[in-house]
């Protein structure tokens, strides 16, 4: 069932207690509410739907509209006639040599028509001005003011509001919205329905072409929706004997739509608000759309998206108008006091000029940073800004946005009529010695200062640190810049990465003269909004359409699975790549949805993220069988692992921990590592490698450094730890900790955090994400006990219980053991299992031979013999591989080298190591 909206409504609806909210009793208007039926209370205000929707009024409005059009057409024709008359009179006057400027003195029937048309023209002006003044916009009261003071519970009290505080909400409905309500009525009338319900309104809304875009964004197919609605509509055809009226639920939808528009600070209630209100108010509509994976929130987000797009277009027009005021000539300000800067121009780019011609995009959702930047530039001890933030989070976008605002003059006075000039450090230092580079820089700065209308921008200013012209104490390029800034008061804006800032600038003279403004990675919602703004240009470029799901998935999946990069850049790239694929695979005008994004992220990360298909579902359901093709017996272990994989794939696992933490206990050679390998192949795909740590190499406490990386100052510092680096590079892998009991206890403590929180901090301070790894530890601890108890015939679960209760705690601390999702005891192999393993191993040999066109056919007796020779109660199946190597592989190798084996030959392996070759029939 679809979730109900949780937030209390802004407008509280009350149904008339007499008519139950329909406005009619029997065949006449309800005497209590006089047809108002449902009223809403927004604080002390009373809202009602005052536009009568019935046959009589609809017809009357229709007649009005026709009559109005007729009058206007008549007047417009008359205006044209008057203008024509004047022209005719002027041409006649011209022919007779009459002075044209005295035209008004002429008298004729044409002039009479002209003067009459002047009157009709002025009536037209009056008419249209009145039409415009009739447009009522939603009141801009603060939502706070509208919050309900203790509201009454019943209609009678709720409706007691002075007339001055009552208003008809229909006046705030846009023309399409009104028309949708009327269409809903007509639809019900045509279908002989007894009531006009929200479902009728939904159908009416769908008939507008402007809502089509919304449904594309929602990723809903029109056909699917239409089919479902057609099935549902007949339920309103049940005769009740009453006349057709708007249902109370529909009236509540109309109130809710007003509330939506009010909250969204809209001027009018439009179709998106009506749709949103339909979904939020009507349970039937909610269920219907929920079935197509559309809920109220999604509609709200899409509405916001479309609204943002519309505002963006409006702002774009405004911007172009304002940008036209700016001089076309770079370097000239409006007061013409600026000085030409030819040298600076050579090494720089005028960002304001680029913004003026529209080459820079506006910046989204960075109001806090921009406001802080303005504050620093306007006041404070250091009037220079250093934007510090990780790569890809939009530092340049903020600068581009600033350039645009400077062009539109939407900046504080100290930035008005100024240029934002970006100096390229690479260009400054290229091809010259550091001392020449410093001279160039100082020359540029001198020019900028003389010109007086320049703000300098350096991208990644840390590149200037350490470029020293002389030896020892000489100032580096950054130092020279800092000095120039202090002496001349030149204002500078720059960007730097956090790590570089801490390393190079914090204690540098340059760091001292600049105020740090931190730029944080945007939150998921902010990132989606940034993507919404970016989607338009991408769509235009690739000729595809993004659904809202695509945008949301690009942000959520990239923030969950692409850890070494930052939002919004990584999400934009995912969107970009998916758009290209959408164009290539589906062609133009195709829809790019959430599943397409999941596929792109899947391909990048090698982790299955798309919805489980039927084929894959079947495969997951028979996972145990697949694993058993590679692994013999160990039913419990296989079941535990399979269940964990299914949970992960169905996204039912806890995403704040590793996919699963398992401890495999058992003697050597029983298949612990083999199972781990099988899991890696099944979940992460064939060919994926495991991150394998032999814990016997970590017996010293100091070996922590090898796992996490050496701390600064130690040898090997900066190269990263073996474990942390491996997981950082491949966050989706199986981490196998072999022979866990041999590791130092302190090292085991490290894994407590990994197993609990899914993260680990390396020596460089980076947090490594372990939430997408499968962590498997194997241990030979308690092997003698396991072997003894199995020998005594005890069942595996009981053995596990006994070990957990006592002996295992001698090797591992209880809190460590508790962190494992499951401790799996592998039982020692018997003859039967070893025989099966022999079969599997020989099959592997057979596969290798098959590539040479040779078949291998071992006899049952030979398999028995090999199994017997390869089985050792102490080492399990481990000696078997050696036996097969010696007795099978070696013998066949010699035969191949001797040239005794040809393609299509069959090797028959028999008892006593005898190998005979069966030649095929000659073709």
């Amino acid at each position: 069932m679809a979730p109900e909206p949780k937030i209390p409504p802004l407008v509280t609806a009350y149904r008339c207690s007499t008519c139950g909210g329909t406005g009619i009793t029997g065949a006449s208007w309800c005497s209590t509410c006089r047809g108002r039926a449902v009223v809403g209370r927004q604080g002390d205000w009373l809202l009602y739907w005052g536009r009568a929707i019935d046959d009589w009024h609809l017809r009357q409005r229709h007649v009005f509209a026709i009559a109005e059009h007729a009058v206007l057409t008549l007047l417009l024709c008359f205006a044209a006639l008057g203008a024509g008359g004047l022209l005719w009179e002027l041409s006649r006057a011209n022919q007779t040599g009459y002075p044209l400027w005295l035209f008004w003195r002429r008298e004729s029937v044409w002039m009479l028509a002209f003067w009459m048309s002047v009157l009709s023209d002025s009536y037209l002006v009056y008419h249209f001005a009145m039409q415009l003044s009739k447009i009522r916009h939603l009141p801009r009261r603060a939502a706070r003011e509208a919050e309900p003071s203790p509201l009454p519970d019943r209609w009678e009290e709720a409706a007691k509001v002075p007339r001055a505080r009552q208003f008809d909400l229909a006046q705030f409905y846009s023309e399409p919205a009104i028309s949708a309500v009327e269409k809903a009525w007509l639809l019900a009338r045509r279908g002989n329905h007894q009531t006009v319900a929200p479902l009728h309104l939904l159908v009416a809304i769908l008939t507008f072409s402007s809502t089509a875009e919304m449904f594309v964004r929602l990723g809903v197919s029109f056909d699917q929706l239409r089919r479902r609605i057609i099935k549902l509509l007949p339920r309103y055809a049940v005769p009740t004997g009453d006349r057709l009226a708007m249902s109370a639920e529909l009236r509540e939808v109309l109130l809710a739509a007003y509330a939506q528009a009010f909250i969204g600070r809209q001027k009018k209630v439009d179709l998106p608000e009506l749709l949103e209100a339909c979904v939020k108010t009507s349970e039937l509509v909610r269920e219907l759309l929920y079935d197509l994976s559309v809920d109220g929130d999604k509609i709200a987000n899409v509405t916001v998206w479309l609204r943002v797009q519309r505002e963006q277009r409006e702002r774009g027009h405004q911007y172009r108008r304002k940008a036209a005021y700016r001089s076309k000539h770079s370097g000239v300000n409006r007061t013409m006091t600026a000085v030409a800067t030819p040298f600076l121009d050579h090494f720089s780019q005028d960002l304001t000029q680029l913004a003026r011609v529209g080459l820079l995009e506006p910046c989204q959702d960075r109001e806090r940073e921009v406001a802080e930047m303005f504050r620093v530039l306007a006041a404070g001890a250091r009037q220079n800004v250093l934007l510090v933030g990780n790569p890809g989070i939009g530092k340049r976008a903020i600068i581009n946005g600033l350039a645009r605002r400077m062009v539109a003059e939407e900046v504080p006075p100290m930035l008005q009529d100024k240029r934002l000039v970006s100096i390229g450090v690479a260009r400054l230092i290229s091809g010259v010695s550091p001392s020449d580079a410093q001279e160039r820089l100082l020359h540029c700065l001198a020019e900028a200062q003389r010109s007086g209308n320049i703000i300098i921008f350096f991208n990644d200013i840390t590149k200037m640190v350490g470029i020293t012209p002389g030896g020892g104490a000489a100032l580096d390029l950054a130092g020279a810049l800092a000095q120039a800034m202090t002496q001349t008061g030149l204002q500078v804006i720059a960007t730097a990465l956090p790590a570089d800032y801490a390393r190079y600038l914090e204690n540098h003279a340059l760091g001292q003269v600049m105020e740090r403004v931190a730029v944080e990675e945007p939150e998921v919602n902010a990132a989606i909004q940034i993507l919404e703004a970016k989607a338009g240009p991408l769509e235009a470029h690739y000729q595809v359409f993004f659904t809202y799901d695509a945008l949301a998935q690009a942000v959520t999946l990239s923030s969950r699975y692409l850890h070494d990069r930052f939002l919004p850049e990584k999400a934009i790239e995912i969107l970009d790549e998916t758009a290209v694929r959408g164009l290539n695979e589906k062609g133009r005008q195709a829809n790019v949805g959430g599943q397409d994004i999941a596929r792109t992220v899947s391909e990048k990360t090698n982790i299955p993220l798309t919805d489980v298909t039927q084929k894959e579902g079947e495969k997951l359901l028979r996972l145990e069988d697949d694993i058993h093709q590679r692994l013999v017996d160990q039913e419990e272990a296989v079941a535990v692992v399979s269940a964990a994989i299914r949970r992960a794939r169905a996204e039912l696992r806890d995403t704040r921990r590793p996919i699963v933490n398992l401890l495999f206990l058992g003697p050597t050679g029983v298949g612990k590592t083999e199972l781990a390998k099988t899991v890696a192949a099944v979940y992460f795909g064939p060919g994926s490698e495991m991150i394998r740590l032999d814990m016997s190499e970590y017996q010293e406490q100091s070996s922590v450094n090898r796992l996490l990386g050496a701390p600064p100052g130690f040898s090997g510092a900066g190269s990263g730890g073996y474990l942390t680096e491996a997981v950082r590079r491949r966050p989706f892998a199986l981490v196998l900790l072999d022979e866990l009991e041999k590791a130092h206890p302190e090292i085991l403590n490290l894994f407590l955090q990994v197993m609990d929180d899914g993260r680990l901090t390396d020596a460089a301070g980076r947090t490594i994400d372990f939430t997408n790894v499968i962590l498997i530890a194997t241990s030979n601890a308690c092997t003698p006990t396991i072997q003894r108890l199995v020998g005594e015939g005890m069942a595996v679960p009981e053995i596990k219980e006994q070990l957990m209760g006592g002996e295992l705690q001698q090797h591992f601390r209880p809190e460590f053991l508790n962190r494992f999702d499951s401790v799996v005891v592998f039982k020692p192999l018997g003859h039967k299992e070893v025989r099966q393993i022999t079969r599997l191993m020989l099959a592997e040999v057979g596969e290798r031979l098959a590539t040479k066109g040779i078949a291998l056919a071992p006899t049952e007796a030979a398999i028995d013999e090999l199994a017997a020779a390869g089985f050792d109660p102490q080492y399990g199946a481990r000696p078997l591989r050696r036996v097969i190597q010696e007795r099978v592989d070696d013998v066949i190798a010699i035969k191949i080298l001797r040239g005794e084996l040809q393609r299509r030959d069959t090797i028959v392996l028999d008892i006593g190591g005898s190998v005979t070759i069966k030649k095929p029939a000659v073709l």
Binding site: W56, R59, Q60, V63, F64, A67, E68, V71, W104, R105, E107, S108, V109, M111, L112, W115, M116, V118, L119, S122, Y123, V125, Y126, H127, A129, M130, S133, Y325, R334, T335, M336, T337, A338, V339, A340, R450, S451, G452
Partner: protein
């Protein structure tokens, strides 16, 4: 039913139309005039901003292009004086256009009424109007 709806709707429409026509002259010289003046004022202000007239006069003594020597100061003073006068004249021209529009607004209905009467009189041959303007 349909017939009665159409007739009664047209009646209501006619009454409404008469009301609107009666309100028209009142609106023209009150609300309408106020709206016109407001929008014309914004046109003039925008034009002033585009031309930067006040900006030029304020910077009359500020040397152009950073030429702070006395030759530079003299040249830029002269230059700014000429440009300032030119831009002011342009603004005055705009002001005149705007005033003309306002004058047309005020005069149009009265003039139209007067000349309609004149033209009608011409055809209905009222003697003292047949030969106007002393011709």
């Amino acid at each position: 039913m349909t017939h009665s709806v159409v007739i009664s709707s047209l009646k209501i429409f006619a009454v409404d139309l008469i009301g609107r026509v009666l309100f028209w002259p009142l609106w023209w010289y009150s609300f309408g005039l106020r709206q016109l003046i407001t929008s014309l004022a914004s046109v003039v202000l925008e034009e002033e901003h585009r031309l930067g007239v006040a900006l030029w006069w304020r910077n009359l003594f500020v040397p152009m292009y950073g030429q702070y020597d006395w030759e530079g100061r003299i040249i830029s003073f002269v230059m700014r004086l000429f440009v300032g006068i030119g831009r002011t004249l342009l603004l005055v021209l705009w002001l005149l256009i705007v005033l003309a529009v306002a004058a047309v607004w005020i005069a149009a209905p009265i003039a139209a009424g007067y000349f309609m009467w004149r033209n009608l009189a011409y055809y209905t041959a009222i003697p003292w109007l047949v030969a106007p303007y002393g011709a």
